[in-house]
């Protein structure tokens, strides 16, 4: 939802890895940022984070990026079954107040952490993934019906 937290998590992943491996385990997130700015890229668990990505991403958040022009929004949270996380609920409330038609769903599954590639899913997980695809497809079809269906 906000890039500061996103990059903090990214750097934290590297720091935890270094600590686990016993290499440079005492560095701080700020030291990683400095390395990124100086060297031009940073190795995060086998992926390169280039300086341009960091500099163009920092300071942005989802609410600002979406803006104020009302348009349909589908928000799907992957996590524990139940209601939306508080931060998402607040965001959705703001959008609704601003006149956005918002649809939300919670799918009970663990979100794949992108550096790890995600664990291979057993059959029931695959079914949940299918429901994610189905929800998105249905929403798109409702928002953009074919001629004659309007």
């Amino acid at each position: 939802m906000d890039s500061v937290r996103y990059f903090r998590d990214v750097f934290r992943g590297r720091l935890i890895h270094d600590l686990k491996e016993g290499t440079d385990g005492h560095r701080s997130g700020q030291a990683l940022v400095e390395e990124l700015l100086e060297v031009g890229s940073l190795d995060i668990l086998g992926y390169s984070i280039p300086r341009g990505l960091y500099e163009s991403g920092i300071g942005h958040d989802l609410a600002t990026q979406i803006g104020e022009l009302p348009r349909p929004i589908l928000l799907i949270e992957m996590g524990r079954p139940g209601t939306l996380r508080r931060e998402y609920s607040a965001l959705v409330d703001g959008w609704i107040r601003g006149g956005f038609p918002v649809e939300t769903h919670v799918i009970a599954r663990r979100e794949a952490w992108w550096f790890g590639g995600g664990a291979w899913e057993v059959e029931e997980e695959t079914a949940r993934r299918a429901s994610l695809v189905e929800l998105t497809a249905q929403w798109l079809m409702r928002c953009f019906p074919q001629e004659g269906e309007r």
Binding site: L45, G46, Y47, G118, V122, E124
Partner: protein, 305 residues
Amino acid sequence: MNGSARAATTSEESPVFFSNGTDTLFGVFTLPTGPALGTAAILLWGSGHLGSTGRNRIWVRLSRRLAACGFHSFRFDFHGVGDSTGAVERFRLDRPFVEDLEAAVRWVHSQGIERLMLVGWCFGARTVLGAPHLKGLQGVVLVSVPVREAPGGRRLDLSLWEVVRRGLHPQVIQGFLDPERRGLYLKFARRYWRAIKIRLSRRGGEADVVARMSQTVVDRIADLVERGVPILFIYGTADVEYADFLEARSGRLGTVLERAGALAEIVTLPGRVHEVGQIDLQDAVIEAVENWLPRQNRRNATPVS
């Protein structure tokens, strides 16, 4: 790299769909940028979601650099992965996707390229070993290949303490409490319990070491050696798979590798190669393959079969 040739770009790459039975598999075929050697490198990634690109696009980078050396290359998604059709419930080391590889080889041969080099990473390397009799095979690269026999592809030789420690992990407890996943976790619990019973009854020794190593893997390596196919093993010194490899060398694998002599090379890199978690190690693997493949291609002036 060939001094005069450049690495390939998307302009030398073509998306390819090819059949394996009822499945349609997706691959990317890369043309050489220098004089063609008439040899194709087929790249096989390991288990999981990543498919033909590999982690951090390592197979893309390797394909493009091999193009500068005169190799064609072909990287593809296993069935159930990436853009291929089909489904995979679980990857098992003892059930590699040999039919996918054979289908890829048929497609490469259909392009008029008979000579092949196979490069496999972990599960991909086990798949390579599942097909030692392929026509035109010139060499194989096995990156962090697991030599351990583990039903279900999991390590079952853990100590009792380690099993208890893992069993008490919050994620595992959560798994047992989840009615949808409970069956799966119970299945693994039963497997670990059986493995502990076997372990307690054996009490170490060479027989135990040999029993835990995959005899199929050793047989396949022996087949390759018998046929005169050069093999490059690449491991990270901190890979669990490397520790297993060293252990296996104390048994029959050691005899096979002695017989292989210069046909088998072992490259070790400092750190964990298997996890592909460091860019400098990815680069080191690319460089090792890029150095080894042209040497073998020169050595084998004519196809092996």
